[in-house]
């Protein structure tokens, strides 16, 4: 059996970001937290936590946090059916599920479902936001228990469920379209018009351009890592960008935004990958997320 008081101390410091707040949560003194962790580190022969603001886990520390989160979740479920087991310290009793999602899902269909499940079951959410092609990384590293991702192939130890596709439209303000695309959308006009790109890992614009003109075109780029900010600068005429149809549907109807090439979309298939843990809490969250996705996303279903 592992030395659980020390293991839970490591997880608390990482979750809370400091020894002081971890001590508060565990209801012991900061020096007790520090001593537990130091002794564990000495015994293992590895540093587990990089002391800083905030404190962050080393590779080894991360492995321990992953283990503790899972044990704590299983504890909570056993406690629900055998309350006499006790062992429930004030805050330790509320389980935190670390989940990753892409920003556009968070801003459109995801949050409501996750919030509903968290409120019903009383668990806490530790949401991290990652580029959709990279949410799988946290899952592979074991930093999150489940993720909304573009990766269909199940990560070892995980189940992958298709969610449907998030549809993106290439949109701009009518004035922007008039100024840069009066001669139509082609390689020459695209090369002049500023585009807005979410982040360095984002390839949606490049996919759309290849679909529009058949090859890559380099264009002047504004970088803006914010879903709502992205809509705002599209409206403001700073550039054209790939906006989620779910978010700009009414703006397109009103004519505040227009499509560069009406109907030319990029659909991004999304998947819910979750650790196989036989956990009722995680199952509840998965059920809510899949249901919300199927109600909001594009579902072709064929072949899946």
């Amino acid at each position: 059996m592992f030395e659980y008081p020390a293991l839970f101390a490591v997880a608390a410091v990482v979750r809370e970001g400091s020894f002081e707040r971890a001590a508060h949560v565990l209801n012991i003194t900061p020096s007790a937290v520090s001593q537990r962790i130091r002794l564990l580190e000495e015994r293992i022969g590895a540093v587990l936590i990089v002391r800083g603001q905030p404190c962050t886990p080393t590779e080894e520390g991360r492995k321990i946090c992953r283990h503790v989160e899972r044990v704590a979740m299983l504890e909570q479920e056993l406690r629900a059916v055998m309350p006499s087991l006790g062992g429930e310290e004030a805050l330790e009793s509320r389980i935190t599920l670390p989940i990753a999602t892409n920003a556009d899902s968070l801003a459109t269909w995801f949050l409501d479902a996750a919030m509903g499940a968290a409120k019903r079951q009383g668990f806490l959410l530790d949401l991290s936001v990652e580029d959709q092609d990279h949410t799988a990384t946290g899952l592979r590293r074991g930093e999150v228990l489940a993720a909304v991702t573009t990766l269909e192939k199940p990560i070892p130890g995980c189940d992958s469920t298709p969610l449907g596709s998030l549809r993106y439209r290439a949109t701009a303000s009518p004035e922007f379209l008039e100024r840069y695309f009066a001669d139509g959308v082609n390689a020459r006009t695209l090369a002049q018009a500023p585009g807005i790109v979410f982040g360095k890992k984002d390839t949606l614009q490049y996919q759309w351009v290849r679909r529009a003109v058949g090859h890559d075109v380099a264009f002047p780029t504004h970088w803006l890592p914010s879903t709502h900010g992205y809509v705002e600068v599209s409206l403001g005429g700073m550039g054209w960008g790939m906006n989620p149809a779910l978010l700009v549907g009414s703006l397109l109807e009103k004519g505040a935004l227009v499509e560069l090439i009406p109907g030319l979309c990029v659909d991004v298939p999304l998947f819910w990958q979750a650790r196989r843990l036989s956990s009722a809490l995680l199952d509840e969250l998965s059920g809510a997320v899949v249901k919300a996705a199927r109600a909001s996303l594009l579902w072709t279903g064929a072949g899946r």
Copy 2:
């Protein structure tokens, strides 16, 4: 004189994230980009770019990018008064200003001002979003030219201008308040009620709690790194959180959100720190940002 074709190739790969897109922008072949950079790396005796998806700069590579961005900006300004100098390759002629801001400023007062200046002057923005206490890091490292930050003391080489304070209110849905704080807001009720915290570097909640009850209280925490998502889950009754008054003013008026303790705010003084570069473009951006901040933020002015 430095070997500028190679230096500009390094900057283009970092900005675009790949050798292929950099080649496109520079209008040369990917192998030419690769060769320029490899020869430079051999001569310097250091790797400048970590090849990956996306490509990222090493510490040394970052120093080169910083230099190139500044040279390019100065070039653009000289070109404006001496068009005969030429040297203007398709996309190289549009300058990208790397700027950092905290997410809450981006979601409230910042974007409009930055967008206005970018449109007027024709430069491109590379916006990065950082926790408000950490935007200064990018500036210190030279990765950004200017930042909205909580740090008042000028970073070496930068000017610091006070912008006023962003006011935060501790808010929740009326149902949430009724459920968790029917007995008032005190250490016991705060320890039970889930709070929403933006990120591990965020200390606003802890500041507010100390102000409310005089000492720290550990509380169950949802983590959610999204300004708009944060408002949404506050409305949905998932927890209480520190929302920018600018963003939730009308929701408070309508009664969709209520304050935990009416009038008990946390004000976060913000500063604009910008590199001293004698650059008209950066000056224009700084002017627009300071003007917008003074119109939106709380301004006591006294002593500053």
